[in-house]
Each structure stands twice: as structure tokens, then as C-alpha cells.
């Protein structure tokens, strides 16, 4: 039974009471929320994810309104992990962004049994691309474009692997799009499913693209990266793929490694092993079709 198979009223009631338990890659999360503004978007964006029963849960999360007599207080919401508030309260109009950021935080703040890179990862055939980058570099836009053209989504935000194993574990959660890339992707991939639009978040305008069914279906199939691509949207730039030395790739990749110090020698060796097996590039682009063609030609 997938999230999307439930009758919306049943989904809402269950989400508000005992919660809905889903698995995203290696993580089982129980989600509870009474907020009506969150129910439909979660069911839409996670529709392909299986509902889990009788399983140990990694993260118990809840998004709820602040309690209190003050109307101002009640208009704000919190994200809790294991009953601990993870962030300052948000306005409830930002319930979905808070939920998604909270789900990310559950992993990068707690799942240190894995090594993690802030970056996207996609796979097609024998090629698996890891695309590290800061917010605004264009990695999520590029990731969404590739996914809409047949690449499998492993992850949009966090590439994770177990130390000593050089395969990326898929999470396949919704892809976060910001600002101009929202309309760009809706034009580029009109058949994809997008969540609601939020015009005024701390990161600018925000919307999410649902992961394709096939990506979610294959979330138990890890993949070894073959390419490390550092993407950079550059207005007016033709697609430019420029080789990066493995030494430089190591330096840059370690800057995006969220918990590199935690793993010591094993983490060091794991990162080096991964880079050894990859071709590494800088990639500048401005037109998505050009970018897709450039990646189609990757050997």
C-alpha cells in the first residue's frame, strides 16, 4: 500500500492520529501532523512511497501548531524529532517547506552512520553522477531536468553512503526547486508533478517536484558513482564540461562533506576510494536542453 493509495480523508485522519510511517531509502520515518495545509501536499509528493507497518522507526517527526492563548502563537508551527523541537517556529503557511527541511535535517543532523555530501545524485545505465554544490549553484535544477528526461533520482539534497562502501544509497525524496527554476522546470517538464508554490521563504520562492515512480520503486538499489560533477548555472554560458584533477575534486568534495570529521580514517579512505573511481568535472550551463545533451554524451 502506497501513500497515494489511501483515501484522502483516511490519510488525513491517520496522519493526524497514529501517524503515517514511510521508508525513504534506508530511513523509516513516522510522520504525525494535524495541519490540514500539510496533508494534501505530503500525500501528493510522497504518493509513490510505501506505507510501512510493523517496523522499527528511525525518526518520529511531528509538525504541529504551537499551543497557547495568543493567536500569533497558534499561527506558528514547529517540527519535532523524537519530541524535541528542531527549529525555531515557522509560520504555518510554510508547513511543507518546514517539513521538508526537517526531513533533511533528520538525516544530516543524526544519521552519522553514513557519510554524506551536500549534493544531488542521479543514475542512468552504467553512469551515476554525484553533483555536489551549494544552494543556488543549480544542482537541483539540473537534477530535476535530468530526472524528467529519464535519469533515476537517487537524491536531490544529500548523497549518502556507508563508510567503506562506495555506493550511494537512494532517498528519492521530492526535489526542491527555488526561484526562477520553478517556472523553468514547469515549462521544461510540464508532465511532472509539482507541489504547492511558496513565494516567501528564507531561501526565496520554493516548490517541490515529485520523484518519479520508478525512482521510488528502485530506492533499494544503490549505485556506485562514476562521475563527480560540480555544476554551476551561469547565465549565457554554453554547456562547458571541464576536467578537474582528482586532487582538486577531493578538496572541493570534502568541503561539501557534511560529516567528514566523524568518520576519521575510514571516511578519508572512503572518500578517496570514491574519487579514484570517478571522472571529475566542472560543469557550466545556462540552457537545460544543452545540459541534457552534454550528459547524454558522457562516456
Amino acid at each position: 500500500m502506497n501513500v497515494g493509495n489511501l483515501n484522502p480523508d483516511t490519510f488525513a485522519q491517520t496522519l493526524a492520529s497514529t501517524g503515517i510511517t514511510v521508508r525513504c531509502g534506508p530511513f523509516v520515518t513516522r510522520i504525525i501532523s494535524e495541519l490540514p495545509e500539510l496533508t494534501a501536499p505530503i500525500q501528493l509528493l510522497y504518493s509513490e512511497f510505501p506505507i510501512i507497518e510493523d517496523s522499527l522507526v528511525d525518526f518520529h517527526v511531528r509538525v504541529k501548531a504551537k499551543s497557547g492563548l495568543s493567536h500569533r502563537l497558534r499561527s506558528h508551527i514547529t517540527f519535532t524529532l523524537d519530541r524535541e523541537e528542531a527549529f525555531f517556529p515557522f509560520h504555518r503557511s510554510l508547513a511543507l517547506p518546514l517539513f521538508e527541511w526537517g526531513m533533511n535535517w533528520c538525516v544530516y543532523g543524526n544519521a552519522h552512520q553514513f557519510e554524506m555530501i551536500h549534493g544531488a545524485a542521479v543514475q542512468r545505465g552504467k553512469q551515476t553522477l554525484m553533483m555536489p554544490g551549494v544552494s543556488g549553484a543549480g544542482k537541483s535544477t539540473l537534477c530535476a531536468a535530468l530526472v524528467s528526461r529519464g535519469w533515476r533520482l537517487l537524491s536531490d539534497e544529500l548523497a549518502i553512503w556507508r563508510p567503506g562502501e562506495d555506493v550511494i544509497l537512494p532517498l528519492a525524496r521530492p526535489i526542491s526547486l527555488k526561484n526562477y527554476s520553478i517556472e523553468l522546470m514547469k515549462s521544461f517538464a510540464p508532465n511532472e508533478t509539482f507541489g504547492p508554490y511558496f513565494g516567501n521563504t528564507a531561501k526565496g520562492a520554493l516548490a517541490h517536484m515529485r520523484a518519479p515512480r520508478e525512482s521510488v520503486r528502485k530506492m533499494d538499489e544503490p549505485s556506485a558513482p562514476t562521475h563527480i560533477i560540480f555544476p554551476r548555472y551561469t547565465a549565457g554560458s554554453g554547456p562547458e564540461l571541464e576536467a578537474v584533477s582528482k586532487r582538486d575534486a577531493f578538496v572541493r568534495l570534502s568541503e561539501y562533506a557534511l560529516n567528514y570529521p566523524v568518520h576519521g580514517k575510514e571516511g578519508f579512505n572512503s572518500l578517496v576510494d570514491m574519487i579514484e573511481k570517478c571522472d571529475c568535472y566542472d560543469f557550466r550551463y545556462s540552457i537545460l536542453d544543452d545540459a541534457i545533451r552534454a550528459f547524454d554524451e558522457l562516456s
Partner: protein
């Protein structure tokens, strides 16, 4: 080299990256640093002997060689790789 320092060397292409297991620090040495690090990892060396070797191997001016090696050793001192207050001469 400071007691307890245990370095793990890994080659990446034409370069090396180094992990200091005792401190958890990672280094990406440039060629001269790499050479000095390897030399002092094997046995204790003075600044003078390192500079002399550099003059011989790289045909550098002695003053330049000493300056460059001192720079590298100062860096290693800051990193905690060599004994603090070690007299190089």
C-alpha cells in the same frame, strides 16, 4: 615528526592526500611539502640537511632552499606535526 603522529598517504592522480590519524586532520600537500613530510616521517632531519638536499636535488639557490624549507616546517609546526619549539638548525 611529533610522537604519535601516524600518517596515511593516498595517491590521487599525480598528487597525494594525507590523513593524520592522530589528529583527524587531512592535508593536501604541494610538492615541496610532500617531499619534506616524507623525509621527516622516515627520520629526524634538520632544516639545514633538508635545505642541502633540496639544493642538490632541485638545483636551488641555498638561501632560497632554506627559506622554502623553513616555510614548510613552520607550517608543520602550526599543524602540530613536528615537536613544538623544535629548533630546526
Amino acid at each position: 615528526m611529533r610522537d604519535g603522529v601516524n600518517l596515511i598517504w593516498r595517491r590521487l592522480g599525480d598528487d597525494y592526500v594525507v590523513f593524520n590519524e592522530s589528529s583527524g586532520q587531512t592535508y593536501v600537500p604541494h610538492p615541496l611539502s610532500e617531499w619534506v613530510l616524507r623525509e621527516i616521517e622516515v627520520s629526524e632531519k634538520t632544516l639545514g640537511s633538508l635545505a642541502d638536499q633540496l639544493v642538490q636535488d632541485a638545483e636551488l639557490d641555498p638561501e632560497v632552499a632554506e627559506y622554502r624549507v623553513r616555510e614548510v616546517l613552520d607550517e608543520f609546526n602550526t599543524m602540530g606535526l613536528i615537536e613544538p619549539g623544535h629548533k630546526f638548525d
